[in-house]
Symmetry: D2
C-alpha cells in the first residue's frame, strides 16, 4: 500500500520560468541501522545540499521507516536522470520504495464538484494567488452551477450528469477524459460516491473533503447530525478516498466552536470556512509530496 | 425532561462569610410573547437589579423558551422565600418550570474515580483555589490509589470494590451513602458503567468526562482507537449521564492537535490535559446553574 | 463616544425581496433599575416578539448599560416610524442613546485597498455568497492592481494615487465621492494612513484590518517584526480607526501557530488567511449592528 | 550565544532504575554540505540507531545549522565517554558547538515563586505524574505562602524576603545556595526582577512565565492592561530570561478567547490555566534538550 511512490512522470513543466530549483526524495523501507547515513552520504557525494529532512519510524524503530528530503544541487535539470539512476543501488540495499521529484514540476489535477462552490473557489483562488504549486487542468461536475466560475479562470469545465443507473457508464467516460491528463483528483464537495472500480484507478490519489470531524458523522448530512447530537465543536476532514466510504487515511482535520444558538444552517455556513481551509492544506501538502501513507494513516511532514 | 428544576434545597451554606449576594432565576416554558417583559417587570417591582440575563428560543421562537437571570436585591436572605412565592403567579401564567437559587449556596457533590487521578486532582485543586463554588463532600472509588490524595484535602474517601456480579449490591450501598448528602455526582474517570437504575436517582445530575470527541469513539479505549484511526485532533467531552452509554447531553468539548509522532500513550498523556480542562468547565457551569437541557442538548449560558 | 447611534437613514433597500422581517433595537444608557422591564414591556405592548436579547453592564451594574434586541412584529414596514416615535418616551426616561433599524436594510460601504487583494477578495466573495448582508458600493485604491477583479463583480472602481504631498487634496476628493453614498468604510489592507481630518467624517465607521495581534507590532511591517521577535503565534486584528494609529477599539482578533521554520514570507502568507477571516467577521458584525463601543473597547453581541 | 552547549555534568542520576536508554546529540555550526552525512555516518559506525532526527538551517542554508538527534546503542552507559571522545573529530571538521547527553540523566532545577502558586503546583504535579523528567531540588520564595505545599512534596523550601535595598545581598546568598545544586531555574510567577548580574550566572538557563502574549504588555500588570486595551484574546509566554526585561528568546506561547464580559480578575483567573500549560511545556522541552537558541529566537524540536 505504497502507491505514493508511483512515478509522477506525466507532470507538466510550469509555463513560466521558476526558481524552484530543488528536488525531493521520498523513501519508505523496513527500519534498519544506517539508512540516514546512506542517504545523506549519497546526496553529499552527488554535491547535493540538504534543505530540509524529516523522518519517522513506526513501532519505536522496529517497524517501517519513512523519510522526506528536500535538496538542492547545481545543474539539477540536466543531471536529474543520472541522480535517479545512481540512487538505485542505495534503494536496493535497504529494500526501499522511493520517489525523486523536481520541485518545479507541477502535479496536474482535476476537481470534482457538485453545486456548492466554496471549496472549488478556495482552491482556484489559492492557485491563482500562487499558494498551490500545481495545475488544475479541468473541473468535472454533475451540475452546471459552477461552469461560469470555472471558465472565468480559463479552466475547462465538463458536465457529467449522473444517477445510480448511469454511474458506471459516466465513470467510464470520466476515466477516459482523465486518462493521461492528471496526476490526482480532488473531490471539492462532490456529492456522489465514486465506485471502488473508479477509485482503483487512482489509489491514494483522490482527496476528499468530508464536512465533519471524522470518524464522527460518517456519511450523509453531517451538519444536520452534528446539530441533532448537540456537539460543541464542528469540524472538517480531508482524507484519501478508499473503497470504504469516509474510512480512508486522514490527511488533515480542523474544528471550530459552536453553541446552542447555531442551527444546522449556521453550522453549515460556518463549516464552509473550515472545509475550505482544511482542503487547501491537504491539496498543498499533496502537491509538495509531504504526505506518506502507512497503513490507513498519513505521515505529514509539514513545511 | 427538565430535571434541572429540581429544588436544590439540600445545598449547604458556605462555612465562611461570602459576598455572593445575588440570586439566579432559571426558566423553561413554551415560547410566547411577553415572557421577558413579565419576568423583568416582576424583578423590577421586587426591587431587584438584573446583573446578567440570557435567553434562548428554540425553533425560531415557535418552540421552547429558556432564560437565566442573575439579579441582586437588598435583604435577599430574609426576603427569598417571599420572592419565590411571589413568582408563582408569573410562572403559572406562562406554564413555566423554574428554579430560583441564591448564588451563595454551594451545591454539594461526590466524585467517583478509579485509578487515574488527574481529573480528580484538577477538581480538588480548582475547588481549593476558589474557582469552583461548590462542596466536594466525598470521593468514592473502586480502587484505593487516590485515598491519601483525597484525605490530604480533608475530604472523606470511600472504597467500594466492584465487579459485574456485585455491582447491583454495591450501587445500593452507594445510594444509601449519598442519600441526602449530595446534589450531583461527578464521574472523574470512573471506569465503571453505572446501571440505568442507579442513574435514575440522579437524572441530569451525573456529569461524566469521556476521553474522546464524542460521538467519535463511544465506549472503551478511545485513545487507542483514535490512534488506530489516525485522527489529527484528539478531544474530550463532558456530558450528563443517561441510560444510553456516552449518549447523554454534551456540556463541553475541546480538542488538541496531534500528528504521526504521537503514539496511543502520548495521546493519553496529552488528553489528560484536555480532560481536566473540559471537566472543570462543565462542573463550574453546573455549579453556577448555567446549563439548561433541551431534549438531548444543553444550552450553556456562559459567564 | 456613542457614534454607533448615528441614524443609518441613508441605507438602501435590497434590490430583491427579502425575508429579513425583523428589526433591531440598540441601547446605551446609564445603568439603572427597570431598563430591561421597560424595554421588554414596550415591545410586548407593541405586539413585538423578542427573537434575541443581549445586554451588558459595565462596572458591576454601576456604570453604563448596553442592550441589543432583535424582534419581529406584524406589518413592521408600515409601522416602523410609529414604533420609533413611540420609543422616544422610554428612551427619555432612562437617558438612552438608541437606534432602531430594520434588519432588511443593507448598509452601504466602500472598500479601500492597495495592492494586496486577499482581504478584498474574501469580502466580495462572502458578499456574493450571501454571508454579508450589506452593499459594497465602490472600491477605492491608490493602485490599479485590483481594478479588473473589482469590476468583474460589477462594482465601481476608483483610482486615487496618493503620496504625502497630495494626501490632503486626494482625501478631499474621496470624501466628496463618498458623500451620501456609504454608511461605513472598510480598509482591506489599505497601506495608507488616513488623516485624523478624514477619519473625523466617519467616527467609529471605519474598520481596519491590522496584520498583527495588537497591541503587539503597532505600525509598519508587523510580520517582519514578528519574525524578528521569534513569536510562536501570529495574528490579525480588526478594529475601528481612530486618530491614534492602531489604537482604536478592537473588534476581533485571531491567531495561528508558527515555529522556527516559518520565515517572514511564510508568516505573511499564513497571515493572509487569518486576516481574511478576522476582517469578514468584523464587517459582518458591523453590518448586523452587533458591535457597541464603550470607551475604547467593543461589546460584541454575537450571532 | 550558544550557552545551551554548557555541559550539564552536574545532572544527577535518577534514584530509581530507568528505561530511558537513549542519548541525545545537539549540534550548532556554520551551514555546510555534508554535515548530516558525517553525523549519520558517525552514529552508524558506532552502532547507534537513530530514533528521531530534526534539523534546521537559517537563511536558506547559508546561515547556521542546528540539529538534534536521539539515538540508542548497546551498552551506552559504559561506552558514553568513548562516544563523546570519538565525536570530537567530526565536531572539529565542521566547527561545531555540540552536546551529547544521556536521556536518563535528570536535570536539576530550582523553582522561584512569590505568592501565587498555580504555576508551581502544575510543575510539581506534572513532575509527580512522571510528565517531567527532571528533579526539582528546591523552591525559593520571597514569601511563605507556598511553604507547606512545597514541603508536602518532600522538596526543600527556602524563604528569602527581598526588597530593592536588600536585593543584591539576597541574590548573593541565593547564588551560594544554588551553586552546584541545579542545572537551571524556573521563575513560576516570581514577582521580582532578577538583576543582570544574577542572570549572568545562568545564561539561557532561567525560564520565566510572563502572563501576556509577548511582546504585548511587557512589564507589570499585563492582565489589567489587556483589559484596558480591550483585547479579544489573552495569552501567556514562556521565555528565557536575559538582562532585557521580557525580551529574551520566546520558548512557547498560547492564548485563549475572552470577550467584553471578562473583567481584569476574570482574565487573571482564566490566564492561570494558560500560564500553567505554557510553562510546563517549556520546562519539559528544556528538560528534554529540545530547545536550541539562535540569536534571540528559539528553535524547538518537538516530541
Amino acid at each position: 500500500m505504497t502507491v505514493y511512490l508511483t512515478p509522477s512522470s506525466n507532470s507538466v513543466e510550469p509555463p513560466l520560468g521558476s526558481d524552484l530549483k530543488g528536488a525531493r526524495l521520498l523513501i519508505s523501507c523496513p527500519d534498519a541501522p544506517g539508512i540516514v547515513a546512506a542517504v545523506a552520504q549519497f546526496l553529499y557525494r552527488q554535491g547535493a545540499n540538504i534543505l530540509q529532512s524529516d523522518q519517522h519510524s513506526t513501532d519505536n524503530g522496529h517497524g517501517r521507516f519513512y523519510m522526506r528530503v528536500e535538496f538542492q544541487a547545481e545543474a539539477l535539470n540536466s543531471r536529474f536522470a543520472t541522480l535517479q539512476a545512481a540512487f538505485v543501488s542505495v534503494a536496493k540495499r535497504f529494500d526501499m520504495e522511493w520517489k525523486m521529484t523536481r520541485a518545479k514540476l507541477q502535479k496536474r489535477f482535476a476537481v470534482f464538484v457538485s453545486k456548492e462552490d466554496h471549496c472549488l473557489r478556495e482552491l482556484l483562488w489559492a492557485w491563482q494567488a500562487g499558494d498551490l504549486w500545481g495545475q488544475p487542468v479541468m473541473v468535472i461536475s454533475n451540475h452546471v452551477e459552477v461552469q461560469s466560475l470555472v471558465e472565468s479562470f480559463g479552466i475547462p469545465f465538463h458536465h457529467f450528469p449522473v444517477n445510480s443507473d448511469t454511474k458506471p457508464a459516466v465513470e467510464e467516460k470520466q476515466l477516459q477524459l482523465l486518462q493521461g491528463q492528471v496526476d490526482f483528483l480532488v473531490l471539492a464537495r462532490y456529492m456522489q460516491i465514486l465506485t471502488p472500480q473508479f477509485v482503483s484507478h487512482y489509489p491514494l490519489q483522490v482527496i476528499n473533503i468530508h464536512h465533519s470531524f471524522l470518524p464522527a458523522f460518517v456519511g450523509r448530512n453531517p451538519y444536520g447530525r452534528a446539530y441533532d447530537r448537540g456537539v460543541k465543536l464542528i469540524g472538517a476532514t480531508a482524507h484519501y478516498v478508499t473503497p470504504q466510504l469516509d474510512e480512508g487515511p486522514i490527511i488533515e482535520q480542523d474544528v471550530q466552536r459552536v453553541d446552542h444558538r447555531y442551527g444546522a444552517e449556521d453550522m453549515k455556513r460556518m463549516g464552509r470556512r473550515i472545509e475550505r481551509t482544511v482542503l487547501v492544506r491537504a491539496v498543498q501538502w499533496h502537491l509538495e509530496d509531504r504526505i506518506l501513507v502507512h497503513g490507513n494513516k498519513t505521515i505529514v511532514f509539514p513545511s
